[in-house]
């Protein structure tokens, strides 16, 4: 007999606790102004990432198409998985000295893990982390980028 009452009691307590849980959900159901959903594609104009957000590696150029990269290769060494390749070339400057400068700073976005080790390693702050995250593409080859713009030069006063 006791077990029968326990059985009934369990059913009622089950329903009761279920209702307690549903009270919580109902509270959120009837407070739609506490909306947490971000309307992503519609809010693209106003969407701002945090300052330190790591979306991609970029090389800032100034208005004269100059960058700070000396081609020292420290970022290439610091990269854990070879996302950065540096191709340098040697030129002869006005004084007749041979000098190695950067030809192409190749960055494989598809392999990058955004660990920030390259930016830390860079002695001249030539590369920084960009904020753009919308990289999805149907072609994998577009992820291989050359960071220095065509025809760009190294900025004056950057130490080797």
């Amino acid at each position: 007999m006791k077990s029968f009452f326990n059985y009934i009691a369990e059913i009622f307590s089950g329903v009761w606790t279920l209702l307690t849980g549903m009270k919580v959900t109902a509270k959120y159901f009837f407070t739609p102004w506490k909306n947490v959903t971000q309307q992503y594609p519609e809010n693209r104009d106003t969407l701002v990432m945090y300052d330190r957000f790591r979306g991609e590696v970029i090389m800032p150029h100034n208005e004269n198409n100059e960058h700070k990269c000396t081609g020292c290769g420290l970022c290439e060494n610091a990269c854990p998985n070879g996302s950065i390749e540096i191709i340098s070339k040697s030129i002869v400057n006005e004084e007749g000295k041979k000098k190695r400068i950067i030809d192409q700073h190749i960055y494989h976005l598809g392999m990058c893990t955004f660990c920030n080790l390259c930016v830390r390693a860079c002695p001249s702050d030539a590369i920084v982390m960009g904020q753009k995250f919308e990289h999805a593409h149907w072609d994998r080859s577009t992820f291989t980028k050359v960071l220095n713009q065509p025809g760009s030069k190294i900025m004056e006063g950057i130490k080797e």
Partner: protein, 377 residues
């Protein structure tokens, strides 16, 4: 391979009434690509044989060609839900080996991040296991509140999951000026949310009947199988590394080690819920007292460890995480072993799931809080 192959699975003969059911590798309740080969009679589980290796990536081999800061970055990808603890373990190991004393500020920051990461991990465990047990609302509520922690992470570290915030000698950036304010705001908010979680699931009789008494792991078995973390503590095995071998700022603070008694699924659930309260207490003790100072000590460009063997244990979100580095004095380690908590925890499953229904196996799996890349490495 995926092909059914007798030589891998059948350890003794299958009886006439038994049959084999393959759970996984792609199954929602296995939390990743784990394959459980269950031997059933009707609904009763007679034997569970976990088959792992579907996400094995050879991290231990890869580390032999990497430098120490690069290894730190790679540990993010093992137990991605306690990424910062993994980072910290390697950093502490390197710092111990080099006998570098990090500033007090670093210790405080690391401990706060440990606990924030633990909160985020337990929240994700709560919502995912709630979903396994049939409570879909839990999934939405848990992830909704977890986003607040991820915002704090992103503000300071620049990433949501794979933080890579600890580096040998300190942390990568100083904390964001808003950090203390946003952490405090989060804690006041989350203190109100946790009772809601209890109302939704923990107090529900249907849920309790599904987990109470299911999958009991005794204290002796927990020690013998090396089950650590909240799973082991639910059985009464006092295994909190923060308590017994304190590191970072844990010696300075007062906190309780939550110990369960029964060792069943419900107790594992309860211990994790209580650990969330405890994590918030720890953060509150530290957040106002972060000392001024540097956020990193200057390390050499190329870090070389002295010859020898070094072991460092930390408490990750799912148990004791250990790093064992054998160094031969070069910039790359000779051998690195990661003692992952999930590996030991997972293989208890055959021991405790025997005799329960296959639906109870899901409850046991859910409360074990497994992360498969942590097991496979």
């Amino acid at each position: 391979m995926a092909e059914f192959s007798e030589k891998y699975i059948i350890t003794d003969e299958i009886k006439a009434d038994e049959y084999l059911v393959n759970i996984g590798p792609q199954h929602p309740s296995t939390h990743g690509v784990l394959r459980l080969l269950t031997r059933l009679e009707g609904e009763i589980v007679h034997n569970v044989e976990p088959h792992i290796g579907y996400i094995h990536s050879g991290i231990e081999k890869m580390t032999e060609a990497l430098s120490y800061p690069q290894i730190v970055h790679l540990t993010d990808r093992m137990d991605y839900l306690s990424a910062h603890m993994n980072n910290e373990a390697v950093c502490l190991c390197v710092e111990n080996a080099l006998q570098v004393e990090v500033p007090e500020r670093v210790k405080y920051i690391r401990t706060i991040f440990d606990e924030l990461q633990r909160l985020a991990s337990h929240q994700l465990w709560w919502c995912a296991s709630g979903m396994d047990l049939g409570a879909l609302t839990a999934f939405f509520y848990g992830l909704r509140d977890r986003e607040d922690i991820l915002d704090i992470f992103e503000e300071t570290c620049g990433a949501r999951l794979t933080l890579n915030y600890s580096v040998p000698g300190g942390v990568m950036f100083d904390i964001h000026p808003n950090f203390q304010k946003s952490v405090k705001a989060f804690i006041t908010k989350f203190r109100k949310k946790l009772p809601e979680y209890d109302k939704l699931l923990t107090d529900n009789i249907i849920f309790q009947n599904r987990t109470k008494g299911v999958g009991v792991l005794s204290k002796e078995d927990a020690i013998a199988f090396g089950v650590t973390g909240p799973t082991g503590r639910a059985s009464g095995f006092s295994c909190d590394v923060r308590k017994h071998h304190p590191y970072s700022a844990y010696p300075y603070i007062k906190f309780d080690e939550k110990l369960g008694t029964d060792g069943d699924s419900f107790m594992r659930w309860k211990v994790r819920m209580d650990e969330m309260w405890e994590s918030m207490n720890i953060i509150e003790q530290l957040i106002d007292n972060i000392p001024e100072g540097d956020f990193a000590v200057k390390m050499k460009g190329v870090i070389k460890l002295p010859e020898g063997e070094f072991y460092q244990r930390v408490e990750s979100a799912r148990g004791e995480f250990g790093v064992y580095i054998v160094s031969d004095g070069k910039k790359n380690p000779y051998r690195v072993k990661f003692r992952s908590p999930g590996f030991s925890n997972l293989f208890t499953i055959n021991h405790i799931a025997k005799g329960w229904k296959i639906a109870d196996l899901v409850a046991i799996m859910a409360t074990f809080d497994l992360v498969i890349p942590d097991i496979d490495r």
